[in-house]
């Protein structure tokens, strides 16, 4: 069994938000009633950026609140959407008069509550645009039916690129268009060696044999479509990289943005092995990792696993990625 560092499981999220904001004095502020984290010093005269979703994906989303990225991040319970009312109040808090881009991971509950909050915020004359992030290649169905690809680690890229565009004064439509362009071109594959465990639960969300790997997991501990044999770090990396390279229309000379992302229970050393294999394989194919993040940015509680996100770079996206950012989880 797994034990958790928790007081009352029902109070896990509000207590965690309180601790997080207390740890960043002068930079973050908390709306305890509606459970959102905002910049302590609200930005003026720029397009607002709000994101959010279920908890359990930390540092997403509150870790990306600050200059150059989000204005407000709103938190639901573990793996559950925030309510429409929370999103509404968070959206209003993100507005400084030039409209708000809502960055939403593609899950039914999140999409419903953000769409509704977007419609209602019109009553207060807050203009909104939704950018849907749906980068998970494992849930790409050819027939286009069903809820579509899930939103995963590419959310970090969307938040960073939109954040930079908003900071340099671009308007609502332009910021949303950039976000949609990122979402359309970034793809992610994920695998797990062990599922995460809900705080307060004793058993993980699913169990795997010692020789098994769950290929194509999302970030909510749901089972994947495929179970494949366990292998080395290089072999595991290839399981993620091969379908991505097949999906993205790449050619020699292309420069890519990569996120090698731990899913919550993965050691940094392990992630560096994945990064090493990624660099070598792309170099062999005449391509390069132009920019990258290696670390745990979008997690699934304490899942032991890794996701790989790739997106082709161009001059504009590179400039916006390189723009200054000062948030608890991303800063340069």
């Amino acid at each position: 069994m797994r034990r958790s560092i928790v007081n009352d499981p029902d109070q896990l999220v509000p207590e965690a938000l309180e601790g997080f904001v207390l740890s960043h004095p002068g930079r973050l502020a908390l709306d305890a009633e509606h459970r959102f984290v905002r910049r302590a010093e609200p930005a003026r005269d720029k397009v607002g950026l709000v994101s959010g979703g279920g908890s359990g994906h930390e540092p997403l989303h509150a870790g990306f609140v600050g200059p150059g990225m989000l204005d407000v991040a709103v938190a639901g319970a573990v793996f559950a959407s925030p309510t429409a009312l929370q999103v509404l109040e968070a959206t209003k808090a993100a507005d400084s008069g030039r409209g708000v881009v809502q960055i939403v991971k593609n899950y039914t509950g999140d999409v419903l509550n953000f769409r509704i909050a977007g419609e209602i915020s019109g009553d207060d004359e807050v203009e909104t645009e939704i950018v849907l992030v749906d980068d998970d290649l494992a849930t790409d169905t050819a027939d286009g039916g069903g809820p579509g690809r899930r939103g995963t680690a590419a959310t970090v890229i969307v938040e960073k690129i939109c954040g930079a565009a908003a900071e340099e004064g671009q308007d609502l439509a332009a910021v949303a268009d950039l976000g949609r362009r990122v979402a359309a071109s970034a793809r992610t594959m994920s695998l797990a060696l062990a599922a995460g465990t809900h705080p307060g639960d004793e058993e993980p969300q699913f169990s795997l044999g010692d020789d098994e790997v769950e290929l194509g997991v999302g970030i909510h501990g749901e089972r994947a479509a495929r179970r494949v044999p366990f292998t080395t770090a290089d072999g595991l990396t290839d399981l993620l990289l091969d379908p991505l390279l097949e999906e993205l229309d790449l050619s020699r000379g292309d420069e890519l943005l990569a996120i090698v992302n731990g899913l919550g229970g993965t050691y940094p050393l392990e992630l560096n092995l994945v990064a090493r294999r990624l660099h070598r394989r792309l170099a062999d194919a005449g391509m390069s990792v132009g920019r990258s993040l290696v670390g745990s940015y979008v997690t699934s509680l304490d899942m032991h696993g890794v996701s790989l996100t790739l997106m082709p770079l161009d001059a504009e996206l590179t400039r916006l990625w390189d723009a200054p950012v000062a948030t608890p989880a991303l800063s340069w």
Binding site: T83, N113, E119, I120
Partner: protein, 228 residues
Amino acid sequence: MTRSPSTDTTLPDDLGPAFVTALQGALEDAAPALGDLDRRAGDGDFGDNVRTAMKNLARELESAEPEDYRGWVTAMSRAWLGVGGTSGPLFGMFYRDLAKAAGDGEAPDLGALAEALEAGQAVIQKYGEAEVGDRTMVDALAPAVVALREAAQAGKAPAEALAAAEQAAIEAARGTAELTARRGRASYVGETAKGVMDPGACAMGLVVGALRVAVEADGGEVAADWIE
């Protein structure tokens, strides 16, 4: 809408508080029964959702006493928008349209109320992507809208028109026991939901019942004994 000119279609000035407090009492009383239906034919969270909504409503009303019909019904809307799942945001949007039946400081007349109910049905169907017969709250609302419109067109008095709408909603909510879910959480349990009324449709029956109670001179309490 054509109306008989001799019929008074105005609704009581206190429609807002009368409707919201009648519905508050009815939902609080029915929460255990609604939760029980959802445990038998859904994911079991609807009773808790109703309780959360009523707790939110009490907080909304405590923080500022609404001034008019629109304010009272908006408090009910915000109460439900603060509830998770799918039923919370859908009921929230429904009450938001119901609130729009009257301008500031006014109560709606019967025609405006009927149109608002119809708009509320449309918004639920837009976001919930449910059709009549899918075993959802829409199943009780749609026939109530039709009955109210027909009664109003026939020149019936408001209390009589809303009584007809309530009857239509209750009958349809009872009828959901024979339907197989395509939308809503009950869609996951399929045939095992047979014989169990849809709790969302039942709650919608209480909504129309509370409107009837609020309009009648001595409407008494909202009937809820049909939910089982």
